[in-house]
Symmetry: C2
Subunit: 256 residues, 2 copies
C-alpha cells in the first residue's frame, strides 16, 4: 500500500533537529511491504497539522505521524488529528490506564497536562509506549490506517514496534542491495541504468548516486530495489546486468 | 518571509538516506530571516514533483528544493519545475557555459545526459555549483522566489551559498539559545513555558524537549528563539525568567 510520513515540529523545519524519525519510519514502512510516496513536515500549529493529516491521507492508505504528543502547550497532534478526521476528542480509557500506571510507578501525580495525553479521537486504540508517558494512537477510518507516534526517537520507535502487526503488509516483500562502480562517470553510465530498468519491466528500481571522487576516479553507488513475489531474485538479476555493463566499460565494481 | 523546503528523492522517503539536506536548508533559511513553514518530500515522479512545487509555493514566498538535478533518467526536477510554473524549458546559456567549462577541465565530452543539466525554465538564472556539474536554478515568478539545488549534500551547499544574497532577508534577525533544566519533569514545567511565552507577547517561542533521564532525575531542554529587532535581548530575557522559575521549583539549570 501507499504510505505517507507526517512529521510535526518547528525544530525539524528550522533544521535544529535532523529528521531521523522520518527515515526510521520510512525504513520500517518500506520493509513492511509499503511504498512511501510522500513526506510532510509541518509546524506545531493546529491548522497546519490538520492540513498535514488531510493531505497525507489524500495520497496514502497509511499515514504515520511523529511529534506533538507530549504534555506541553504546543503538543496538539492528538486534537488536530481528531479535527482532521472530524471525530470527537475523548478520554481513551486504555491510554489513561497506561499513563496512570507509568505515573504511579514513578510516584507522580496526575495533572491536567498529563491527562491531556489520554485524549484521543473516538474509536482510537492506544499503543503502548515503553520509553515514555504518551501512548501512541492507532485508528482506522475511511479505509485508511493512521498511526500517531511521539517525537522523541526512542518513544516513536517503541510505539512503532508495538503497532507493527497492525500496519505491516505480509503479502508484499521488499529487497534492496547496492553496488559501487568505480572509474565511470554517472552521466556516462546513465543510459545503462535506463536500459536495465526497462529489462525488468517495472519490477526493479535503480537509483544512481554519484559519490565523492575516489583515488580510482569517479564513483557511483547504484541502489537496486524491488517489491513483489521474488524481490531478491530481481535485485540480484539487475545487479549482475549492471555489473556486466560496468565491466565492459572498463569500470570496477563491488557490492556494498 | 515564509519559506518551504522541497526534497525530491525516493531514497529519502524510503529512509535509506536521512534528510540532512532539509535540515541544512532550514538552518540557512532561518538564520537568513525566514520562517520555514513547510517541508515536503516527494518521489522522483514528474507529477509529484510538480505537485510539490505548487503546494510549497501556495504556503511560502520562498521555495528551496533539493534533489533531482543530475544526468540520470530519474533526475527530472528542472522540467517538472518548469511545468509547475507553466514556463517553457529552454537551454540556459549561462548553465551550458558552466557545464562545458567543467567538462573541459576534466577532459570529458558533452553528451545528451549532460546537456540535460543546462535545461532550465525560461527566465531562470543559473547558480554556480563548485562541487559538481549540475548548476542550481534561481527564478522569481508570481512574487515568489525559487531556488533549485542538487541533492548531493556538497553540491546543495555550494549552490545555496552562491545564491544566499538572492534569498536572504537582511531586515529580520533571528536568535536562539537553550537551557537544560534538571530535576523537573516536562509535564510539571509545562505551565511555566506557557506563561513565559505569554510574557513576551508572541516575540519569543519556547520549545521544550524531554531528554533521557539523567543521574539527577528528569531533564528538559528548553529552546528559546526569537525573530525581530532585538532577538538576542528577548531570548536572554525569556531564558532568565525560565531559569528563575526552574530554580524556585528546586530544579537546576545550565545553558547549552
Amino acid at each position: 500500500m501507499q504510505a505517507a510520513v507526517l512529521t510535526i515540529g518547528n525544530e525539524i523545519l528550522k533544521g535544529k533537529t535532523v529528521n531521523t524519525n522520518a527515515a526510521h519510519i520510512g525504513r520500517v514502512l518500506t520493509f513492511s511491504g509499503h511504498t512511501v510516496v510522500l513526506g510532510l513536515t509541518v509546524r506545531d500549529v493546529r491548522e497546519e497539522i490538520v492540513w498535514g493529516f488531510r493531505t497525507a491521507s489524500q495520497f496514502a492508505d497509511i499515514v504515520v505521524s511523529t511529534g506533538g504528543l507530549g504534555p506541553t502547550f504546543d503538543d496538539m497532534t492528538s486534537s488536530s488529528f481528531a479535527e482532521a478526521l472530524g471525530l470527537p476528542l475523548v478520554e481513551n480509557p486504555e491510554a489513561m490506564e497506561m499513563i496512570r500506571s507509568r505515573l504511579t510507578a514513578r510516584g507522580l501525580e496526575m495533572t491536567e497536562n498529563r491527562r491531556k495525553m489520554a485524549m484521543m479521537p473516538q474509536g482510537a486504540r492506544a499503543i503502548r509506549n515503553l520509553a515514555g508517558t504518551a501512548p501512541g494512537i492507532y485508528l482506522e477510518a475511511g479505509g485508511k490506517k493512521y498511526l500517531v507516534t511521539p517525537g522523541v526517537p526512542d518513544e516513536m520507535r517503541s510505539v512503532l514496534e508495538n503497532a507493527i502487526e497492525l500496519i505491516a503488509d505480509r503479502n508484499v516483500r521488499y529487497a534492496e542491495r547496492s553496488t559501487l562502480v568505480r572509474g565511470i562517470m554517472e552521466s556516462s553510465f546513465a543510459p545503462h541504468v535506463d536500459e536495465v530498468m526497462k529489462m525488468f519491466a517495472g519490477r526493479v528500481y535503480i537509483k544512481s548516486h554519484p559519490r565523492p571522487r575516489g583515488p580510482r576516479g569517479p564513483e557511483i553507488e547504484l541502489e537496486v530495489s524491488a517489491s513483489g513475489q521474488d524481490p531478491e531474485g530481481d535485485v540480484e538479476g539487475a545487479l549482475r546486468e549492471l555489473e556486466r555493463r560496468a565491466a565492459s566499460m572498463g569500470g570496477e565494481y563491488s557490492r556494498i
